[in-house]
Symmetry: C2
Amino acid sequence: MTNSPVPTQGILTGISVGPGDPELITLKGLGLLKTAPVVAFPAGVGGKPGIAEQIVAGWLHPDAIKLALSFPYVRDEETLTRAWELAAEEVWQILENGRDVAFVCEGDVSFYSTFTYLAQTLQKKHPEAIVETVPGVCSPMAAVAALGVPLTIRDQKLAVIPALYNVIELESALNWADVVVLMKVSSVYQQVWEILKQKNLLDRSYVVERATLPTQTIYKGLGDRPLIQLSYFSLMIIKVINN
Amino acid sequence: MTNSPVPTQGILTGISVGPGDPELITLKGLGLLKTAPVVAFPAGVGGKPGIAEQIVAGWLHPDAIKLALSFPYVRDEETLTRAWELAAEEVWQILENGRDVAFVCEGDVSFYSTFTYLAQTLQKKHPEAIVETVPGVCSPMAAVAALGVPLTIRDQKLAVIPALYNVIELESALNWADVVVLMKVSSVYQQVWEILKQKNLLDRSYVVERATLPTQTIYKGLGDRPLIQLSYFSLMIIKVINN
């Protein structure tokens, strides 16, 4: 009887690939990406490549295996949980066989990222799984660099709201913070505009769409823009305190 | 009479070099850094090299001119303004002569960074100055990557407080946000610990010192740590909502 050697378990690494410009990945992230035998990413919608996949396309080793994982864009908990479980099992089978998996995510993998759900599901089902992350450039930093304004200075307090389900949330943020970031502003822009008008903050508000991509669009001052058709990847920065 | 050619004005670029690990600079930042004729940075204290200078030391072109700019660690407005004006003039003389200046800063140049004061002073004195920035990895992202926890997920609201001058500030942040980051926690750690104890949040609080540097230290759960001697570059993450 011969014993086949048990392969050393692979590592799942969440790699932050930054906001869009492929040059905004870190050296550390790129080094891991170029040597990863398997590169996973959230599958795109409607047959199109996903955002993270597009960002890293030029960096991948020609022999790397690409693994598109399906994470449906829905809010139903059961559907989501099932999708994460399926994805975690797919990844686990590769790790178990001794191969590393690099999961790439736009922005930073710890900041409102799909990676967290995958990592948490994997570690729940397989507590022995080894998970690491490489930090990266998050979208608010990219947006202010594009605008040419600082995000925060001195003792300014910052509030970040990922999505707005209730305008009261925005009012409390404007009361508390000196700078407010609204991450996904497209669906609530009109309501937000009304509040900013009442509070006389339109001149100190900015919108950045697709920061650092060739299609980047910037809106500085929103006084004459009660309506803007914005894409999903738009964020707003409100300087409650001027500087 | 001959006209000497007027040199094309140089560009001041603020380059985010990330939290400490030199590999956490972006490709874009590194590319600009390696070709910059002049690399400026905040001067270190007591003859030691400054943090940003240490981070990029291994990346600099051997012929690059290093320019240490003095920004005193004081709160006196007049002293600070004078220092920024002097630094801005030093930089302007180089730009005027047609040479680019890369100013390197730890973390992200738009996030509580010395770069903002330099850039704003320069643009006030010389409105024609051209200033650009390259975003980077900010310390909260690096800290959570080191901890192995996400910073924020789903609809969690994030509050960032740069420095705590008043404990009331912390209480209002804990009431408003789901995740709170205290950027410079060392001088107020003991007061913060008392508040977290009252609110039963010590088990959900983390401290990271010098994230991503070889001397990085992590404290997960603070229940038995009413006192920690922390260095200046320490931050705290409080998960008000568990996940």
